[in-house]
């Protein structure tokens, strides 16, 4: 059994909103309802449920079980994946592992959060002792220090970063599910002139916290074929690395776990960066996109800006980037935000991209970023390569 013996047979996504008027369970129900309608898989055939972290629901000690209860699912396998923004990709990998192990046959991977409307998150880590007393704001400050380090070492080109921001915003204009507030065009000058939050992190570098949900349904490829679900998406490569540089006191924050995770995913898929049809990197900050281009070997370390200037990232271009707008221009659904990029990649491979359909739908690369460790880059890096059923 292997990762690629499994398939994503359906996907769903709610509209992303700045503050949801409905409860997290209702957002989750929208996903279940849509996926049942799309695949014809009945609710009593879903025997596995994997949830992502959620700053809302995971505050409940029995998060995945309560979700199963609310949705009326009777399960053989039920769990939450708590690797932050990496959780949605982690959920797909764990769904495949569970199916391969015979623990479940059809697994709903569900990502929901209403972090803005009802945030129960109370992280207990190094923060209260070692960062909070210094007025450290979390992610924007971490990315501020990281960007300053990158600038000292390689030079930071705001115009290159602005080009990424503009491409994603253009895509949000073509995505009805994107947060309405973010569906206004921007220019590179708008990016460069947006106000500083944590130098050199600007307002237009940052995600806007929103509420929303998404999900995918995973089953064995043979089972999918038997049901005539030939239009599906196959995970062909996956890599995951947590706490890169764990045994070092000083870690270069421009080197991330995506290097190792990417090498594993590409090797497993038998593909190279040149083969990738569309790129859906986790984007909590714009610079993270550039760093991932470097770590995944689209270009050498430190030379992301040159690559960005010579590449067309529009949905119609050479390397379509976060064609739904990414989290930065569609809105970040709290800890479920990684599902936004995943579902868009799946949608493109299903050929459902509509006014933003990419030309090359032979493969898509999705990544995840989860958690911020002490003074480094991020805790977990994930890389998932998808292809259509072929």
């Amino acid at each position: 059994m292997a990762l690629s013996d499994n398939a994503i047979i359906g996907y769903a996504e709610t509209k992303i909103v700045p503050r949801s008027e409905v409860d997290i369970w209702e957002l989750a129900a929208e996903i279940l309802d849509d996926i049942i309608g799309q695949t014809g898989i009945a609710n009593d055939e879903i025997d596995g449920l994997i949830l992502s972290s959620s700053s809302t629901g995971a505050g409940n000690n029995f998060w995945s079980q309560t979700m199963a209860d609310q949705l009326g699912l009777e399960l053989n396998f039920c769990q939450t994946v708590d690797i932050g923004g990496s959780s949605p990709l982690g959920a797909v990998a764990r769904a495949c592992a569970a199916i391969d192990a015979g623990l479940a046959a059809t697994v709903l991977c569900l990502f929901a959060d209403t972090a803005v409307a009802e945030n129960n998150g109370r992280p207990r880590s190094y923060g209260a002792e070692w960062t909070t007393p210094f007025g450290y704001l979390g992610a924007p400050a971490a990315f501020g220090m990281l960007s300053r380090y990158y600038d000292d070492r390689f030079g930071l080109d705001p115009h290159a970063l602005g080009k990424l921001a503009v491409a994603q915003r253009e895509h949000a204009l073509r995505n009805d599910n994107a947060c309405e507030k973010l569906r206004t065009p921007i220019t590179v000058d708008d990016y460069v002139n947006s106000r500083m939050i944590n130098d050199p992190i600007r307002l237009l570098d940052c995600v806007m916290p929103c509420d929303g949900a998404s999900g995918v349904l995973v089953t064995g490829r043979k089972a999918a074929e038997k049901r005539g679900l030939t239009r599906c998406v196959v995970p062909v490569g996956y890599g995951e690395r947590t706490n890169v540089g764990a045994r070092s006191s000083i870690v270069d924050p421009t080197l991330t776990g995506h290097r190792v995770a990417g090498e594993r995913a590409f090797a497993q898929a038998g593909l190279t960066p040149a083969d990738i049809g569309s790129f859906h990197p986790y984007d909590d900050f714009i610079i993270a996109i550039m760093m991932q281009l470097e770590m995944l070997d689209f270009c050498p370390h430190g030379q992301g800006a040159a690559f960005i200037h010579e590449t067309d990232f529009q949905f119609s271009g050479d390397l379509p980037l976060n064609t739904g707008g990414g989290q930065i221009s569609a809105g970040q659904c709290g800890l479920a935000g990684g599902g936004t990029n995943l579902v868009e990649a799946v949608r493109q491979l299903f050929g459902d991209g509509g006014p933003r359909q990419v030309r090359n739908s032979a493969s898509a690369l999705v990544t995840g970023i989860g958690g911020i460790p002490y003074g480094r880059n991020w805790n977990t890096s994930t890389v998932l390569i998808l292809t259509p059923n072929a």
Partner: protein
């Protein structure tokens, strides 16, 4: 010259001490900096942890007093903060590389924006907390 805020007048959230980090906080009462050292790896670690990041073992660790001198690794100028830091922007959150080879997050004081550059030499500045402990800040070592 753009003066950055030293944040010496605000009431900061008091850091809790975990079961394993108490020696660090106790030493700050005497304005002494002690950090964890691993005898097998011959290397220091920060922040204080319940085990050695080098060996995974507990009895290879000891606390050693260090000078607190170091240099600037990276920094960000905070221009938007939450209370109690709000309205005290701009200020600096920095990573400081101590001479012993660990990175420590803190604030820089007595700095203008123009002073800030990678490798700026720094020394400790002990800021009193209301409970008798001190918070380790850094100032330029001019």
């Amino acid at each position: 010259m753009t003066r950055l805020n030293d944040l010496l007048d605000i009431e900061r959230p008091l850091p809790p001490a975990r079961s394993f980090s108490a020696p660090f906080w106790d030493a700050t009462r005497e304005k002494r900096l002690v950090i964890q050292y691993d005898r097998i790896a011959d290397a220091f670690q920060f922040y204080p942890r319940p085990t050695s990041i080098f060996t995974g073992r507990r009895d290879t660790l000891e606390w050693r007093e260090v000078s607190g001198r170091g240099k600037l690794f990276s920094y960000t100028i905070v221009r938007r903060a939450r209370p109690p830091f709000r309205d005290h922007e701009p200020y600096v959150v920095a990573m400081v590389t101590l001479d012993e080879g660990v990175n420590v997050m803190s604030n820089l004081i007595g700095c203008a924006e123009e002073d800030l550059a990678a490798d700026l030499p720094l020394k400790p500045y002990w800021h009193p907390l209301p409970d008798g402990r001190h918070l380790l800040l850094f100032e330029p070592d001019r």
